[in-house]
């Protein structure tokens, strides 16, 4: 069975490292916060200027002066800190935020990512995505394996305008976990019940497949 969005988030959460700072993008990545493994402590940075984000506020306690990068009302946890946008991106660009999880429209086998623009369609802008992908040591992409037309989003080469080059380290989709290696995508895990052939046929890029490919534990 292919994973649903929650399960993709759950699988990515397994990759969180203890005592690290993490930036979660909008969409599936936001859900990762719900599945932090026991014993793992991470602190969430939001690029609009907060570190130590907590859950959404209780009804009636929403504060227009306290939002995340998705413009959602939030709360903060003990030890949180507020800062301006320049310091926020100093944290990101200076690699103090160790992991970025974000969505994508396409990922290519050299780690390029496209997620901000579709020619001919309204362009909303890159927001902080270009800074994030150009900076973080570790970048995990959370997305569906194929687009609505059933076309692969895992490509030899991105066809859409790119957001960053040679930056994605790992991709977690509804079908598979892929590592971006020097030689291209390496298949690490399969969604439960999904065969290697199913993954291959949904993937435009070549896959490096070595030995047994385990099922994801979700």
């Amino acid at each position: 069975m292919a994973l649903d969005k929650k399960q993709i988030a759950q699988r990515i959460a397994q990759d969180l490292e203890h005592n690290t700072y993490v930036n979660l993008g909008i969409g599936i990545p936001t859900l990762v916060a719900n599945y932090i493994p026991k014993g793992i402590n991470v602190e969430f940075q939001s690029e609009n200027g907060v570190l130590g984000m907590g859950p959404f506020p209780f009804e009636g306690e929403e504060d227009p002066d306290m939002i995340n990068a998705g413009k959602q009302t939030i709360t903060t946890l003990p030890g949180a800190v507020i800062f301006d946008s320049a310091i926020s991106f100093a944290m990101i660009r200076g690699r103090h935020v160790q992991l970025t999880v974000l969505g994508a429209m396409e990922v290519s086998e050299n780690g390029d990512i496209s997620n901000w623009k579709i020619p001919g369609k309204m362009v909303k802008g890159m927001g902080g995505a270009m800074d994030l992908v150009a900076s973080a040591e570790n970048i995990i992409v959370a997305m569906m394996h194929t687009n609505r037309k059933g076309e692969s989003k895992i490509l030899k080469k991105c066809t859409l305008p790119i957001t960053g080059v040679n930056c994605v380290k790992k991709v977690v989709t509804n079908l598979a976990v892929l590592e971006v290696t020097k030689n291209g995508f390496k298949l690490l895990e399969r969604a439960p019940g999904i065969s290697i052939n199913e993954i291959k046929s949904a993937t435009e890029a070549d896959l490096i497949i070595e030995g047994e490919i385990p099922e994801m534990d979700v």
Partner: protein
Amino acid sequence: MINKAVNNIKEALLGVESNMTFMFGGFGLSGIPENAINALSKKDIFGLTCISNNAGIDDFGLGLLLQRKQIKKMISSYVGENAEFEKQMLSGELEVDLIPQGSLAERCRAGGAGIPAFFTPAGYGTEVSYGKEVREYNGKPHILETALIADFAFVKAWKGDTAGNLIFRGTARNFNPLMAMAGKITVAEVEELVPAGELDPNQIHTPGIFVQRIFKGEKYEKRIEQRTIIKR
């Protein structure tokens, strides 16, 4: 102490003209200079270049200036949530320059800090880097970005004093301190204006030297774009 207090929004906006470049603090609708935007949207000034992370929504924030077609060009990082914007952009009426958010913040700070240009990895290899100088540092390509300044910077703080010192609240801080640095004339509006000496000198976010005019905003609506809550 140099007194920066002006009596009203009219004095605060003295000298704004068509075809000028303005900066607006705020992220989404949080921390935007509501009173200045409202007043500007009633003035007959057009052909503006506006530097702001976002472009408001249809009936609030910079959306108000868009509706009257006062804006010629937007320099932003993210401009969704605005149908009027989309219409004007697709029709070619509105020029749009999209900039990575971190580069936008740093370019404003640089403008205020007398740093004319700096290298950043953000945007390398993308269309943002077209025509920009590329140089490798630490084995990684970087592009050269230049400083941004504005004829007027409009910012919004929580508290301010008559010396122009500002304190922000929560994530309404965002771009405000950086744009305050980069305005030839920086106009700060605050929810509370106190006499100089009442704020702790250690706890000021924006030193008054960066602010030319300060006033207490008449009214703050402080709209929330995405009201996300949990039930008790």
